[in-house]
């Protein structure tokens, strides 16, 4: 009995995919309903919003590192570009002067609707990826990692340079406030009629991840995977390495930029200082935990990561006294230590991560023993 691989053309959508689609729709409906019902200040929504953002960025990183085999550590730089692009173009014209107090209203004097600003954020990030990719993509994997890391640091340094404050508001000195409203629909009295603030990021992430999934299952996606498996053979099969690496790099960076825009959307301000290499490391670790080469894994692990760090494991950071006994170790920063150790465990003992290379539909398919020896370890 042969296993029906998700990539051979099915005459109809198979059971696994169907169940997955239904499940995903159910999650959206649930999120929407919960938001109308629960108090909007609940931790749940912060987690959902932030989780959706990081899920997109993690998937974009997985596209590059996991599916194309390009080990790039520049994600934070592209998120930074996206965040600032979005923030700069969504300042209501009326507020310009107060934001750019020292720069006479700043360089950009108009304001764009949210969707346009988000798209622009992605495009700028992709453009810079193109420029950076030209010299950097032909490097070997370890050097590519350091070079992209270096570029991310250069980008951050540039954004913190006060000479371009006319654009960035002198980022290392001042915060850049953001003005997106929370997307909730209000009635004439200003009371919220429909809560949409969680649904919007979910939708953005959903559309973007859907595109990436379609891409992975397309001819170009196969070409990316071929490059990951064996560059020499891929080239011999007519795949232009430079062009395809650039496509993967720019696509991944586009979505990292969109992710950055989403961060700017629900934060009160953006600051170049916070887009450090540590941020890229965290995203990488999310990808590893979820499973390099699994989109579903990246989405799962991002939500898990955010939920644990913002919500469930917060208690690790607080001093606890149980019945007069002060619990040792628990104080500020312990949560991150626990995280780090969990991550090391995964890296050392569970290298395939939660999902390995499986996707959501695979969880619902009939389990069939793989014939022959299991293929490549990742």
């Amino acid at each position: 009995m042969t296993k029906v691989s998700s990539l051979t053309k099915p005459k109809k959508i198979d059971r696994g995919t169907l169940i997955s689609i239904v499940l995903i729709c159910a999650v959206y409906v649930l999120a929407f309903v919960l938001e109308q019902v629960m108090p909007s200040t609940s931790m749940l929504f912060t987690v959902l919003k932030k989780g959706a953002t990081y899920a997109l960025v993690a998937v974009s990183m997985n596209l590059l590192n996991g599916f194309t085999g390009l080990f790039s550590l520049g994600q934070a730089g592209f998120m930074l570009i996206g965040a600032y692009t979005y923030a700069i173009f969504t300042i209501p014209v009326a507020q310009r002067l107060s934001v750019y107090q020292y720069y006479n209203g700043g360089l950009v004097q108009f304001s764009l609707p949210v969707i346009v600003a988000v798209a622009l954020a992605g495009l700028f990030a992709a453009f810079f990826a193109f420029l950076i990719g030209l010299p950097v993509l032909r490097l070997k994997s370890d050097y590519l990692a350091i070079a992209t890391l270096g570029f991310a640091e250069i980008i951050r340094a540039i954004f913190q340079w006060d000479k371009i404050g006319i654009l960035t508001n002198g980022s290392n000195l001042r915060l850049f406030p953001t003005f997106t409203d929370d997307f909730n629909i209000r009635d004439a009295d200003g009371n919220v009629v429909l809560y949409l603030s969680t649904l919007v990021p979910f939708l953005i992430t959903g559309v973007c991840v859907a595109f990436i999934v379609l891409l992975i299952n397309s001819s170009y996606g196969r070409a990316f995977k071929a490059m990951r498996d064996d560059e020499t053979a891929a080239e011999a099969m007519g795949i232009n390495l430079a062009r395809h690496k650039m496509l993967a790099f720019c696509t991944s960076s586009f979505f990292a930029g969109v992710g950055g825009a989403m961060l700017a959307m629900y934060a009160n301000s953006v600051q170049a200082k916070s887009f450090t290499t540590a941020m890229t490391y965290e995203i990488l670790l999310m990808v590893v935990i979820g499973g390099i080469g699994s989109v579903t894994g990246s989405v799962f692990s991002s939500f898990l990561f955010v939920a644990c760090s913002e919500w469930w494991l917060r208690f690790l950071d607080q001093e606890q006294v149980w019945g007069g006994w002060k619990v040792p170790l628990l104080r500020n920063g312990f949560r991150l230590v626990v995280f780090s150790l969990i991550i090391m465990m995964v890296v050392l003992f569970f290298r395939k991560g939660i999902m390995g290379t499986r996707e959501l539909p695979d969880l619902f398919r009939k389990r069939v023993k793989k014939t022959g020896k299991e293929s490549a370890k990742r």
């Binding site: 990539l7 051979t8 379609l214 397309s218 011999a236 007519g238 795949i239 290379t357 020896k373 293929s375």
Partner: protein, 279 residues
Amino acid sequence: MSANVLHLDNITMQFGGVVAVNNVSLDVNEGEIVALIGPNGAGKTTVFNVITGVYAPTNGRVTLRGKVIAEDHPRGKMRKLYTGGHMYEYHHTVNNTPDKITKMGMARTFQNIRLFKSMTVFENVLVAKHMNLKANYLSSALHINVREEAQMREDTMELLRIVGLAEQRDEIATSLPYGQQRRLEIARALSTNPSMLLLDEPAAGMNPQETEDLSAFIRDIKDRFSLTVLLIEHDMNLVMDISDRIYVLNFGALIANGTPAEIQSNPDVITAYLGVSEE
């Protein structure tokens, strides 16, 4: 005499001070099966690598159906190190990356099988069709090109049927038995719609029965797809069986060429392989 497909003109490949290929000239004509043989380390795969654009030749020219696909002369540091001749005959510099060479109709297999490890048999052959994709990046990503995809898949299945691997289409490529992996690599090369096939030791690791099957297989696909074939091989049975002509390489230089019968009785060839007999 049929039209010339591939022509190597005084190809020399030098790595630093090591001369891997020394002044090799050879021809492959339309519809022929030509073999390149020689002891291990003679430089045969290096010749392949020069033809397919993996290396730029240190000196010499390669033409495909009259069009120059690779040409170079010693430059920079290599000028001093170069020990071969014909140095000032090749003035232009032409090089093509392997993907361009494949797009010109020349596909190859590898000495150490290089299948795509994480992909199935079907996917390995399907991905070779990517280079002929007409849809652009976005159309392909959004799956707008439904008909093209369907056609590609159909063609892939057809190819798998022809080579006898249809049953195994959903197996992971590297889980196949060795002989089938070699056949898969050939199928993948065929999937690029080549007019010329370069096979690097296709019979390596095969037993006599498998080699005989391979013989028939190569002849079959050559006829079916109207191919010209250049192959590197150690297995003399296979070579003598299917080759129209043979070139013999030793220490990077050509020591003989001719029909199988001529080569078999050539004393230089015998010496190269077996050493000088002690009388």
